[in-house]
């Protein structure tokens, strides 16, 4: 038995070595660049990320998965950073994805993450590996901007001292402020602010609070919720006693925003008496499904951009092409996923002479006046988009409806 074991061990080793040789010698002259995306593909963010991945694939198909006149082959891997058990993104899973990307030398572009908290984990790993990240959805300011997040941010995320992270959406310091100004325009005088204690939610609620106060809106109270609680009846009773005319929730659908709205309505705060506003984290169909269409009616949501159906020029063309191809409405971030891939391909095409992580990273950062579906935009030195256009939405007849452009 022992002999058999050692024999099979040796055999396996030989096979492994042979297999390894095979791949190395088997490579042709064609260079391969792998683009990976790391998004929550399980859980209730799936509705959003499905349309992002669709948009990424759509863009790659347009160029037939090739760049540099066919000399470079593009491969795409759709990684999941969520687990079914959590129903949302998971720290370990995100680190696993980033490490897998870092160790595969073909991976030169990392599209992701979806959640800002996940970006905190992925950026340092990929920074050490020198891989460029293009996020279609992260909005936490501290990832790129000094003084807008916690102390030491953003330097802590870039151990090598150089930047490797870019994002196509405007950060929350702009979105929170836009929400604060919008609340003023809507005639709000007394607002109760909630957050889900997460990086994204708390950050945006802080900015909202500061802007609202500056606009002369009274802050009736501020609380952080336990996003795993089964109900918020006691909390909503407490809030109702302060007579607010709006509740602002800094958080996402997955941190129980639906239950909040349900219990808010049950506590007698109907849509005509008390408004409910949230950031783009609740700007999705899953939120309406979770809250129930009747309860969600009248809820306001801001979004760091304009909805796909309101895009103009190239964007409108893309919107129609998407609908024709997938026979479905793209969710809010699909256009950002498309333009992320767009700038990635443009950077690869500019790096034909030396295809490596360093050149591609340099060329992504050099994106200026890029003519994408979102309009003419580029990245600044810290990796932030030059786009600043925001929009406000409201749920009417069970669906989000575009109300106005915000500044």
């Amino acid at each position: 038995m022992k002999r058999f074991l050692s024999f099979s061990l040796v055999l396996t080793m030989i096979m492994v070595i042979l297999a390894a040789c095979g791949t190395e010698t088997g490579g042709t002259a064609k260079t391969t660049v792998t683009i990976v995306s790391s998004l929550p593909r399980t859980g209730s963010s799936k509705g959003q990320t499905d349309t992002i991945v669709n948009a990424i694939k759509m863009r790659l198909e347009e160029d037939k998965y090739a760049a540099c006149n066919g000399n470079v082959e593009i491969k795409y891997e759709d990684l999941d950073d969520a687990t079914a058990a959590k129903g949302a993104w998971d720290e370990t899973k995100e680190a696993e994805n980033a490490n897998a990307a870092a160790s595969n030398k073909d991976v030169m572009v990392y599209i992701g993450t979806f959640n800002s908290g996940a970006a905190k984990i992925a950026i340092p790993i990929l920074n050490n590996a020198g891989i460029v990240m293009i996020s279609p959805a992260n909005t936490y300011p501290g990832l790129t901007k000094e003084g807008k997040g916690a102390e030491g941010e953003p330097a802590v995320y870039y151990p090598k001292g150089t930047r490797n992270y870019t994002r196509v959406v405007p950060a929350d310091d702009l979105q929170g402020a836009a929400a604060g100004n919008w609340a003023k325009e809507l005639g709000v005088t007394n607002v109760y602010i909630l957050d889900d204690t997460e990086l994204y939610g708390k950050g945006i609620a802080d900015v909202f609070a500061a802007t609202a106060e500056a606009n002369g809106i009274k802050i009736a109270g501020r609380d952080s919720i336990d996003s795993k609680a089964s109900d918020y009846k006691a909390l909503m009773s407490k809030i109702a006693a302060t007579n607010p005319d709006m509740i602002y929730f800094g958080g996402i659908t997955q941190s129980n925003a639906g239950q909040l709205v349900k219990d808010m309505r049950a506590a007698g705060m109907t849509a005509d008496k008390v408004k409910f506003m949230g950031p783009d984290g609740i700007y999705e169909q899953a939120f309406i499904d979770a809250a129930g269409a009747d309860n969600a009616e009248g809820v306001y949501a801001t979004f760091g951009g304009v909805p796909p159906s309101k895009l103009e020029g190239k964007g409108a063309e893309w919107y129609n092409a998407y609908k024709a191809k997938f026979n479905a409405e793209p969710e809010a971030y699909a256009a950002y996923g498309y333009d992320s891939t767009n700038v990635a391909l443009a950077a690869i095409n500019k790096s034909c002479d030396s295809i490596n992580r360093e050149t591609i990273l340099k060329n992504v950062f050099a994106t200026k006046d890029f003519d994408g579906v979102l309009g003419k935009w580029g990245f600044d030195a810290s990796g932030d988009t030059t786009l600043t256009q925001m929009s406000g939405q409201q749920i009417k007849n069970g669906a989000f409806e575009f109300i106005q452009v915000l500044k």
């Binding site: 952080s224 795993k228 609680a229 089964s230 109900d231 006691a234 909390l235 899953a286 499904d289 129930g292």
Partner: protein
């Protein structure tokens, strides 16, 4: 059977204790707790007390909310206590059984096509009553089945084995919940059978199996007529409290006064002695699991309708609270669990109001630790009957 309980028996921890409620030791520990709270807690929480004094209406409102929540926590806690009392097993799967109860009620509601806008009140009332029976039946047999196949073969194994088995069952049930919540599967079944009713289930589940499901608001939302308008108390709240208390009272009298209840108590006290007296222990344990399962399913339906949400992970959260309630009240003791549940509901609501929602869980466990310091067996737990 009662004669078999001797003070010297270290095993004695009957589901319904025979000693008077207020013993000397109990009185001492309660006084100790009050002194502790008086001397240490009051200076710290002075502002909170002032706030309570300021708005008695809000205080009453939160007490009402807390007690309502407490009643359903108590019903779930009973499931833990029953099983612990008879098998000394912490049945981790019980919380998930509760979740299955919520999903089953959503499925039946969709199958029957109940809609608060179109169905008449009487239809809704009788359908819900029927659904409650169906759900309780399903979860009862599910629970008994779990006992038969996951716990009984391990009856004489070391104590950790059935515990691990229970944790395993908890995961299995969670995945059943994810499966039941997958609208795409329901869609395929509906297409295959050409059934509108199953199509409605598919719609209710949506396309995301792990996303929260919305349960239609079928319970009456009007203000209860004899409560002044300043205090919000709807028929929904009343119904939840009445049904939960009814279940509690029913279970208590069942275990206390019926022959089968006596057999359950005897098996809980000493399984081998009960066998010698001619009690079929296996059957008694099966009955206990049937009852526990029915209670879990009923709680699932009550909570599902009350909060309007079914989610595959709701069993874990509720299970943690209820298990804590059972330990707080004295696990293995029916009245203790009920008391623990009410207390936890109350603490949660008051902490949400006066301390802050994010601290509520910390407050509950701090109070649990405090009470266990003075009474290691829980508020109404038996002295010396500590079983791990």
């Amino acid at each position: 059977m009662a004669a078999s309980q001797t003070p010297s028996s270290p095993q004695a921890a009957p589901l319904v204790p025979r000693e008077p409620f207020l013993t000397k030791r109990r009185a001492f520990s309660i006084v100790g707790l009050i002194i502790f709270l008086g001397f240490f807690a009051i200076p710290i929480y002075q502002t909170i007390l002032l706030e309570m004094w300021d708005s008695p209406r809000q205080l009453t409102q939160q007490i009402v909310i807390g007690l309502t929540k407490g009643t359903y926590i108590a019903v779930i806690a009973l499931g833990y206590t029953l099983v612990y009392g008879i098998l000394e097993l912490i049945n981790f799967a019980h919380g998930d059984l509760f979740m299955i109860g919520a999903f089953l009620s959503l499925i039946f509601i969709s199958l029957f096509g109940l809609d608060p806008k179109t169905s008449s009140g009487i239809t809704i009332f009788f359908s819900l009553l029927g659904i409650l029976g169906l759900v309780m039946l399903c979860t009862a047999f599910l629970n008994a089945g779990i006992e038969r196949f996951a716990y009984r073969p391990l009856r004489n194994a070391p104590r950790l084995a059935p515990l691990i088995s229970a944790i395993g069952m908890s995961f299995v049930l969670q995945n059943v919940g994810i499966f039941l919540g997958d609208g795409l599967i329901w869609d395929k079944i509906a297409d295959g059978l050409g059934s509108d009713a199953i199509g409605r289930v598919a719609d209710a589940m949506g396309t995301q199996s792990v996303a929260p499901k919305n349960i239609p608001d079928l319970l009456p939302n009007g203000q209860v007529f004899f409560i002044p308008d300043s205090l919000k108390y709807t028929y929904k709240d009343l119904l939840v409290a009445v049904v939960s208390l009814g279940l509690l009272a029913g279970l208590y009298s069942f275990v206390r006064f019926t022959k089968l209840g006596k057999a359950i108590r005897a098996t809980a006290q000493d399984r081998d002695a009960a066998r010698l007296m001619g009690i079929n222990a296996d059957r008694t344990i099966s009955v206990t699991f049937l009852i526990g399962g029915a209670l879990g399913g009923a709680a699932g339906m009550i909570v599902g309708l009350y909060n309007g949400t079914a989610l595959f992970s709701m069993g874990f959260t509720a299970g943690l609270l209820s298990f804590t309630a059972a330990v707080l009240g004295g696990i293995g003791n029916i009245l203790g669990s009920a008391l623990g549940g009410l207390l936890i509901g109350l603490i949660l609501a008051l902490s949400d109001q006066y301390i802050g929602t994010r601290w509520s869980n910390a407050v509950i466990f701090a109070i649990l630790v405090l009470i266990l310091l003075f009474r290691p067996t829980g508020l109404l737990g038996q002295e010396g009957g500590q079983k791990a």
